[in-house]
Point group: C2
Chain length 341, copies 2
DNA sequence: TTAACGCCTGCAAGCCTTTGCAAAATGGCG
DNA sequence: CGCCATTTTGCAAAGGCTTGCAGGCGTTAA
């Protein structure tokens, strides 16, 4: 290895700075290590030279020694629902605020979540956030074995041992049911997502519970094949074409609710909210636009993100505490797709 | 440093595997280095032990030697427009496909782009993609000095020396104008984003050009304070309230176009497309929903992403080629907000 | 059977930091 | 001015991996 190695031009390193400033390498290191002892003369000298040479400590070499990478892995699956853009926004922001960096992994195209996780682990990240429908217990095992704090976001898988931060989806479903009942609707249906997804399941079962408590039965239930607009449209059309046409639907997310609204109005000539009510879930920005004005159940996303990062950083600094689970309450955002009294 | 250091339990390393398998460390390394020479016996033995011990090479240590991190930095600013979710989807997917990883940086809240870039550089990333409104020349300088390939995505700043992959926004603007002219509209207006953003500027000037060529003048132009729905709504209301009411508007993105449509229909009682035409830009999924059916100009996002990554990886393997700029054509997606003949 | 030839493999140096330890410098105080 | 208590500072050893070099071994040809 004689000349400039494989990659780009060799960076300026701490030895260059040390030589130039006439100090030891350790001194340079200490100037760039918060909390290390260095006289102000020293600090000034090193900083000046670093500035001039455009020196910057090499994070890789550093992490080799410190066993900290300041990298947080984010595993995401849903790139179709705009809520996830704002979730990503909040997460990356919160992560950067704390001086950490986000390593983003996309597991949407059925790419093996397991395999991705392994890849991530090569980087010995400090912590990991998973926001993906399928959360395998093997992943959480991997993390525990390697001592990597993990929080499962907006999902509540029963069979994994990890931190969980989620909205209270069951309670959210109940909220929807009670609103509908209170407003005099009687024949309700639920439009869920794919059958395996715990959020959809929880929202549905909360809905059913509250219905049952009021002595009502859910008329029907359909599951969309995916969480998108088209899939929702198709599912709702199926629902409205069948017998037992409901007076109200509760949808597992806003996108499907918007599809429901469109299908009801444009294809079935239903008046909303007079003939037919629709409730969504999430409160995405589009739900508030003029043509929709969707009544919906809101998850406290900001709080969820904040708590996730809190839990994660706590766990990073104190690795041996046992996993916590935080369940945050939803609220109803009332607009115009449920009649007002 | 006697006992378990700062971070989690110490990982299993190549020496563990080597000892256990009765081979040298180099052997282990070579088994995990594609293209290195190792007999199949060797390989089998090492792989078996690695499996059992759950060994995985440490990417940090590796990159220290190879000068390659396999990390691609993505700098993004716009977390409000859903197009960026699909862009992120495509990028992360393409990056993973090539065995690389995405380090995502959020510079939306006016966080200094410069400062973020510096942070990113500490990780000595292999390449960087910037999709942010403001692209400072200093950033591209930083990259060039450090030998980090850089591509500017969906933006065409004149004053930076870097790879550029973007849609032909000027031509896109012309497309919009010509469609409108051909369909008999005469009094046009443009609704742009903040005045400093090159995409909005280019789209507007292409629009103006084509109008001028047809002997028409743009009636008015308004700029929204941001690219969102509410800002668009406000801008369009201003436009329609003023004198010289136009018969058609071209909006710098779909979100504002949707806002325009809503404002025109709900607040001004205009019939679209009979009395009033609207054209957007981007072709986001919501533009296709029943209440909108928006006619719009589409950027070839997938191709743009693919080319960006191609350019980037080319540049990574051959660092000394000069920057390229690729400008891809837009197309019109015709739906129902411009009359059909 | 022996020599020449290749493929494997191990050795050890190097990548860029951090950090325990001990020596040097500083400062306060009598 | 000398002594002791603190800082500062430098040395050198990690940390986990890659890789040039040279010796080892198995193979083929004579």
């Amino acid at each position: 290895m004689v000349t400039g190695k494989a990659g780009g031009r060799s960076r300026v390193t701490a030895v260059d700075v040390a030589r130039e400033a006439g100090v030891s390498i350790s001194a340079v290191s200490r100037v760039f290590t918060p909390g290390a002892s260095a006289s102000s003369k020293m600090r000034a000298k090193v900083l000046a030279v670093s500035e001039r040479l455009d020196y910057m400590p090499n994070a890789m070499a550093r992490s080799l020694m410190t066993n900290r990478t300041h990298l947080i892995g984010i595993i995401m699956a849903n790139f179709k629902n705009p809520v996830y853009l704002s979730i990503l926004d909040s997460f990356t922001h919160a992560i950067q605020q704390r001086g950490l960096r986000s390593l983003l992994f996309n597991v949407s195209r059925g790419d093996d979540l397991e395999a991705s996780a392994r890849q991530i682990m090569e980087y010995s990240i400090d912590g990991m956030i998973v926001s993906a429908a399928s959360m395998s217990p093997l992943l959480s095992d991997q993390c525990r074995r390697r001592g990597i704090p993990l929080v499962v976001f907006a999902r509540h898988p029963r069979n994994v041992k990890a931190n969980v931060v989620t909205a209270d989806n069951v309670a959210g479903g109940r909220l929807a049911a009670r609103l509908l009942i209170e407003r005099g609707y009687r024949r309700m249906a639920y439009v869920g997502g794919p059958e395996t997804v715990s959020t959809s399941l929880d929202r549905g079962s909360g809905f059913d519970q509250a219905l049952a408590e009021a002595g009502l039965d859910r008329v029907r239930r359909v599951n969309a094949t995916d969480y998108g607009y088209d899939e929702g449209y198709e599912a709702v059309s199926r629902l409205l074409n069948g017998g037992d046409r409901p007076e109200a639907v509760f949808c597992a997310n806003d996108i499907m609710a918007m599809a429901a609204l469109d299908a009801a109005r444009y294809d079935f000539g239903l008046r909303v909210p007079e003939d037919f009510a629709v409730i969504g879930f999430d409160d995405i920005p589009f739900a508030a636009t003029k043509p929709y004005r969707l009544t919906t159940i809101r998850q406290p996303m900001d709080a969820m993100v904040r708590q996730s990062i809190d839990v994660l950083t706590d766990q990073i600094s104190a690795p041996d505490v046992s996993p916590v689970t935080r369940i945050l309450p939803c609220s109803v955002i009332e607009r115009d797709t449920v009649r007002s009294s």
